[in-house]
Symmetry: C2
Subunit: 130 residues, 2 copies
Amino acid sequence: MSDDRGQPHQHPVDPERVARARERLPSRDDAASVSSVLTLISDPTRSRVLYALDVAEELCVGDLALALEVNEDAVGYALRVLRTAGLVANRREGRVVYYRLAPDFPEPLLDSCLWRLVALTRSPSPDDGP
Amino acid sequence: MSDDRGQPHQHPVDPERVARARERLPSRDDAASVSSVLTLISDPTRSRVLYALDVAEELCVGDLALALEVNEDAVGYALRVLRTAGLVANRREGRVVYYRLAPDFPEPLLDSCLWRLVALTRSPSPDDGP
DNA sequence: CGCATACCCGGACGGACGTACGGACAACGA
DNA sequence: TCGTTGTCCGTACGTCCGTCCGGGTATGCG
């Protein structure tokens, strides 16, 4: 009984609640999926790219950097990550590459997460009807 | 002029869309706030702590570690971060400390983000495999 | 009064993430 | 054809974050 540090006590204080939490809790895999998608949009540059694409519908890389007022490297990296995850799609016209939200972009992620959160963190008034 | 790398082109390809994005885009501060709260819940341990507290209403640290099947150190650190951010509240009874979601915990964050996302990433199986 | 429990704290370590930089490619204009 | 523009790629570096491990405090029990 020396390095029991990791293992918690084996006499649950409230076994009933523990059992209920265990059975209604998302699985580890589901939680990992949620975490990965939340990590994707938790970067300021990436989230602002998504905001901009949602507003403007379609933008090329240079204009995106211009709209966000960041350098093209940051936008390029953000787009690469989002593209790898399948959240944005690109269309090429000449030497210009236009980006837009992916056709199957999860709407709840945009509406219920990003836009709602920006309203939430801005005016924390609880009586703000939906 | 060698390090123009950072600055994007000064002739926008589509000035109209750039202007529209610029004016309807969340400010940098708002985006930073959203990012910070998303970062908070984008960690698997922290998000599962929130799930568990939402389901069980109230749990002590040891039971929390038991329910999540992680060691107490991880739970302790997650709780410290969440407590610092004001997302969870604690109540002390003897030597046991019970945690619950903060009274002013933003409901949309739980319902519209966490629970909706876990349903989203599970059902439509947008498998990003090969 | 002494020991075990439940939890917290602070420092050290390892890994992941985002940025900066050089180079490369294709496309357009002259 | 030649130089310029728009974008992508790979690498190296600095930084932040989560975990591990020591110790510390307070409560409850015998």
